[in-house]
């Protein structure tokens, strides 16, 4: 969930009133936001770097507000204020207007064949006669960063570049060149670098190094030039210093390039709807032309308004309320979805503004009506759905066995399903290839290399962590292990295992054997060869030679029991003899 940090006093000024922290928290909650933290720059610095560093930092109160991940229109102060003011019916939602420049005067962005190979899409727009202040400027930069982190998927899908239009001359060319052929002065640097040098320069940059991989291994890097060969940006990494916007910039050229055209359009719409507020003609945006290599021309921003019709009874039924159509229209209008009743009250016509790309289905409209109505005002009803409950037979068996194993004097452990290769292979005297284990591709540490193929390592580690406890230690676990199995749709499956351990100064094989007898008695499997269970000598890498038996039940091998091999005991950092039992209980379901 993205978090937006705003200055409290600035927020209240824009909202036209002050709130107590509690009141504002309440308002956020109702609207689906969360006032996550109340802090200040000083508090943040002293928390992160220590009190000493915070000396002289600002005491201005900051609100950190959690915004739902699909509400890009609330990611800046401007959007938050607009959303809340419309919600509280203090203002009407502004209408965003696209201004088409006179023929031949509009800005053009030409995508070349080379660019299309690397980063196929681009959109652009112009904010004319904008007035920045320090606060507005910061908010403009912050919003771009928030969009980059969220909908742009860390610039992989879309990257934004904003430029002082008065420093360059269109038309602009979006092309791609070999890194050695690109040379320009990047943002906040005092000299020119080639693209290859920039990659080295940014490798240690705490912020930019995260984006290098997006183009690093490509033969050609994307680059945008003006008609005089001035570099605007090298998306998705960095803009040029030449076109840097300042507080004095009056005309801003915005380009968004990327691999996902839908998201690029949304990002552009959000940027221009949020900041056109500060244009000479508020909420108006100058369109730009984007020309694809095939000659096709698109006009951006789209700023598309879409109309949806939803029946009032549908909304009422989906929420569980009974509001009049006009009330429902009012509720929706408060959510920036301008609505009115049509067709003799049979329909509500809803206009979805370009800021609300999250509204993709009638259910999204229903939710907004519910939010405006107030979730906590909705009558709670118990559904009449009549059903008979059933347990999953495997889980039912597990629950019953757990109780009786505890009654037999064993204590239940709960160990991780993920572990290291070493745990299930080397430490049990096996090669990893014998285990049929499922391997994880992206473990952050060795603890998450594989899914366990046996419960034994987890129990042994539990004992190792509890060596101070009085002996004997008697542990059990009934849980799932995972192995590869080509016969399932995903190629792997779980088996429900029962594992028990006895750890003491003597191996206690007879105790573990007795536990097996007890389990079989509980499962009504008699000790005989024909239709019951039996154990017979076998060898197992984890067991002491001559002290291991295979358990045969219902005509199949279900597991092993025996005295653990001293090597196994040592590898798990234990010192006492130990006997163990591990069986698959699925044949008994």
């Amino acid at each position: 969930m993205p978090t937006v940090t705003v200055k409290r006093d600035l927020l209240f000024e824009a909202l036209g009133r002050a709130y107590t922290d509690e009141e504002f928290d309440e308002l956020c909650f109702e609207f689906g936001l969360e006032l996550d933290e109340i802090t200040s720059e000083k508090a943040i610095i002293s928390k992160e770097q220590g009190d000493g560093k915070a000396e002289g930092a600002s005491d201005t109160v900051l609100y950190k507000i959690d915004v739902p991940a699909n509400r890009y229109d609330l990611l800046c102060l401007e959007g938050l204020v607009r959303g809340l003011q419309v919600f509280k019916e203090r203002i009407n939602l502004p209408r965003y207007e696209k201004i088409m420049p006179a023929k031949g005067e509009g800005q053009r962005l030409i995508i070349t064949e080379e660019a299309a190979q690397v980063r196929p899409h681009a959109v652009a727009a112009v904010l004319r006669n904008i007035t920045f202040t320090k606060e507005r400027y910061n908010s403009f930069i912050d919003l771009q960063e928030k969009l980059h982190q969220n909908i742009c998927r860390k610039r992989a899908l879309v990257a934004i570049g904003t430029h002082d239009l008065d420093t360059v001359t269109g038309p602009f060319t979006f092309t791609a060149k070999a890194p050695s052929e690109i040379k320009f002065k990047p943002l906040n640097q005092s000299q020119e670098y080639t693209a290859s040098q920039l990659m080295d320069l940014y490798r240690t940059d705490s912020h930019l190094r995260h984006y290098l991989h997006l183009i690093e291994n490509k033969p050609l890097y994307p680059i945008i030039y003006d008609s005089n060969g001035v570099v605007l940006s090298m998306p998705p990494i960095i803009n040029g210093e030449h076109t840097k916007i300042s507080l004095n910039s009056r005309n801003v050229f915005i380009e968004c390039t990327g691999t996902d055209i839908t998201k690029a359009k949304i990002v552009l719409d959000i940027l221009v709807t949020m900041f056109s507020e500060y244009c000479e003609k508020p909420f108006s945006v100058e369109a730009a032309e984007v020309i694809y290599p095939n000659g096709k021309t698109h006009i951006y921003p789209e700023l598309a308004y879409r109309k949806e019709k939803v029946k009032p009874e549908f909304i009422n039924k989906k929420i569980g309320i009974s509001e009049t159509p006009s009330n429902l229209a009012k509720l929706l209008t408060r959510m920036c979805l301008k609505s009115h009743v049509t067709g003799n009250g049979n329909n509500i016509e809803i206009e979805i503004p370009p800021t609300r790309a999250d509204i993709i289905h009638a259910c999204d409209i229903v939710e907004d009506a519910a939010i405006a109505y107030g979730y906590n005002n909705i009558q709670m009803t118990i559904p009449k759905t009549y059903t008979i409950a059933n347990q999953l037979p495997l889980n039912k068996l597990t629950e019953l066995l757990r109780l009786d194993l505890a009654a037999a004097g064993f204590t239940e452990a709960l160990t991780f399903a993920l572990c290291s290769q070493e745990d299930i292979a080397d430490k049990l005297g096996m090669d990893i290839s014998e285990t049929k284990a499922v391997h994880i591709a992206n473990p952050k540490t060795a603890e998450f290399q594989v899914a366990r193929t046996s419960l034994l390592p987890g129990l042994l580690k539990t004992i190792a962590a509890n060596r101070k406890m009085p002996l004997p230690l008697k542990l059990f676990e009934i849980s799932d292990i995972v192995v590869k199995d080509a016969s399932t749709d995903v190629g792997a499956r779980n088996y429900r295992h029962l594992c028990a351990l006895y750890y003491n100064k003597t191996p206690g094989f007879e105790i573990i054997h007795g536990l097996l007898d007890r389990v079989m008695q509980l499962l009504e499997v008699p000790p005989n060869q024909e239709n019951g269970y039996m154990i017979k000598a076998t060898e197992g890498s984890a067991f002491f030679p001559g002290r291991c038996a295979e358990i045969i039940a219902k005509g199949q091998s279900i597991g092993k029991l025996g005295v653990l091999h001293p090597d196994v005991i040592t590898k798990f950092e234990l010192t006492m003899p130990c006997s163990a039992l591990e069986i698959n209980i699925e044949p008994f379901v």
Binding site: F31, G32, P68, A69, R153, A156, L157, T262, K263, K318, I319, G320, I321, I360, H361, V366, E367, A370, I371, N376, I378, T381, I382, P383, T385, T387, A389, N390, Q391, L392, E399, R402, L403, A406, A407, G409, F410, T411, E412, A413, L414, F416, A417, L418, V438, A441, K444, F448, G458, T462, A465, L473, K474, F476, A486, D489, V490, G491, A492, N494
Partner: protein, 501 residues
């Protein structure tokens, strides 16, 4: 202990301390002296008499006494080291090297110098030489020690006592003794009390004549030799029980490995969603891909993601089957719910209520409250005409069974539910609202491609098992609860799990 001593003591008590109660009584030290016994022997007799019941009363007393150490005894007899040293220095003085060879010279010299009894001439011919600085001295240390010997320690100033103690001339000794009185069952004859009832006593009826030793009811009993259930799994049992009481049927969730298709795509979670990032989800290297995806259904999922349909605009991106095939460790049990709903859609529709409680996996950063695997409880109701109000109603019912009645609902965002609701409860300890669960109404883009009839709504909610368990059992670090680093003593000691209590 010979019975003789106990009897001697009882007889002495009978003679010397006629009445029980505050009036009479004996000091064990005096009694031992009078009987010519070692005090420890007498204490042994007291202990054995106490074990017989109310024969005697013995009130423990402790007294502090000052005694001289061996060194102190010597100083009391011959004078303090400094005085002895002073006496050894003749009028014409003594070379320092020679002086320091005298017994006790080290201590005596520094003290005598500090008292300014002696003086050191470093410039003297033939090396430093020590002279008397005064004509005569008064040995106050010796006087004090002699007073202690006379039993007048209490009369010494506190400072002097402390000083002598620091010099290890004086010792503070604590002496434990008893004040003895007759008990309510006093008798001069020692009768042996029986400890336990025996089968023989029952058979012969001899128990009627025998006195029995009193039990100490203040002591704890012997812990039973038993096994124990794990506290988190006790909570899991209660959650299952609670869902069953509400008429919910358990879903199969015994498949940790899931395809991205069931974990994300089927749930209308777009392929660029951050949850599908390597940083959040464990993907598999082997088996890397799901071989089998339901072809017809998959085509519908692809269409609704990339182009929309069923009244939806869709996400408008290029949906790739390779992404859907990627195997992972399920990030939520909703993957299993998706499979169940798809199965349900293949039959003639009948309303269902499903639940599951099982493990899920996240490739997240670990801290005191987050592990890479945790348990998720999930409830799902599918029926015609279910509204948001029904979801809130079920949530209220469910949380009431968990003992949580103060609820508040917050609008939220989940990719697969709309409307979405976060459930908050008022935490009395923290005095604030805390999130306890997430819920919503499944999106039509999820249900309709499965083939569920229009008009069927599915409401669902989920919560982690670890969080309420940590609150319930007062555990701050999740590693003490889940995994091999568990504290077994905590498992042994964990109480019953009554969620509503």
């Amino acid at each position: 202990m010979s019975p003789g001593v106990a009897e001697l003591l009882l007889q002495r008590l009978e003679r010397e301390a006629p009445g029980p109660g505050p009036g009479g009584g004996l000091c064990s030290l005096e009694a031992a002296a009078a009987l010519g016994l070692d005090h420890q022997t007498l204490v042994g007799a007291v202990k054995s008499l106490q074990a017989l019941g109310e024969v005697i009363e013995a009130e423990p007393r402790a007294a502090t006494r000052w005694e001289l150490s061996a060194e102190g005894e010597a100083a009391a007899r011959d004078g303090s080291p400094e005085a002895r040293l002073f006496a050894s220095v003749p009028a014409e003085g003594l070379p320092q090297s020679e002086l320091l060879k005298l017994p006790g010279a080290q201590v005596g010299f520094s003290k005598a110098m500090a008292n300014k009894w002696l003086r050191l001439d470093k410039e003297a011919p033939g090396g430093p030489r020590v002279f008397r600085a005064v004509a005569a001295v008064q040995d106050r240390v010796q006087e004090s020690l002699r007073r202690v010997q006379r039993g007048e320690a209490a009369g010494l100033p506190e400072r002097d006592r402390a000083d002598l103690k620091r010099r290890k001339l004086l010792l503070e000794v604590t002496l434990k003794s008893y004040w003895l009185r007759k008990g309510s069952a006093f008798s001069t004859a020692v009768t042996r009390q029986e400890t336990e009832l025996t089968p023989e006593m029952i058979a012969t009826g001899s128990w009627r004549q025998r006195p029995f030793k009193a039990y100490n009811f203040a002591a704890l009993g012997l812990p039973p030799a038993c096994g124990h259930l794990h506290p988190l799994l006790k909570v899991r049992s209660q959650f299952r029980q609670l869902f069953l009481e509400m008429g919910f049927t358990e879903m199969p969730t015994n498949n940790f490995v899931e395809s991205s298709f069931w974990n994300f795509d089927a749930l209308f979670q777009p392929q660029q969603h951050p949850a599908r990032d390597q940083h959040d989800t464990f993907f598999l290297q082997d088996p890397a891909e799901a071989a089998e995806l339901p072809a017809g259904y998959m085509a519908k999922v692809k269409k609704v993601h990339s182009h929309g349909g069923y009244g939806s605009q869709g996400y408008k991106y290029e949906w790739k089957v390779e992404e859907a095939r990627k195997n992972l460790l399920r990030t939520h049990t909703t993957a299993a719910s998706a499979r169940m709903l798809y199965r349900l859609a293949q039959e003639k529709f009948a309303p269902v209520k499903y639940f599951s409680v099982d493990r899920v996996f996240r490739n997240e950063s670990l801290d005191a409250t987050h592990l890479a695997e945790f348990h998720q409880a999930e409830g799902v109701v599918a029926d015609r005409g279910l509204a948001l109000g029904h979801l809130l109603g079920v949530l209220a019912q469910f949380f009431a069974k968990l003992g949580i009645t103060q609820l508040r609902f917050k609008p939220a965002y989940n990719p697969y539910t709309e409307p979405s609701v976060e459930v908050f409860c008022y935490h009395r300890g923290l005095k604030k609202w805390v999130e306890v669960g997430n819920s919503g109404v499944f999106r039509p883009e999820l249900l309709l491609p499965m083939g569920l009839p229009e008009g069927v709504s599915v409401i669902a909610w989920g919560l982690s098992l670890e969080r309420p368990t940590m609150v319930k059992y007062g555990i701050n670090n999740i590693r003490e609860l889940v995994g091999h680093r568990v504290n077994l003593q905590m498992v042994y000691d964990s109480p019953l799990c009554r969620l509503d209590a």
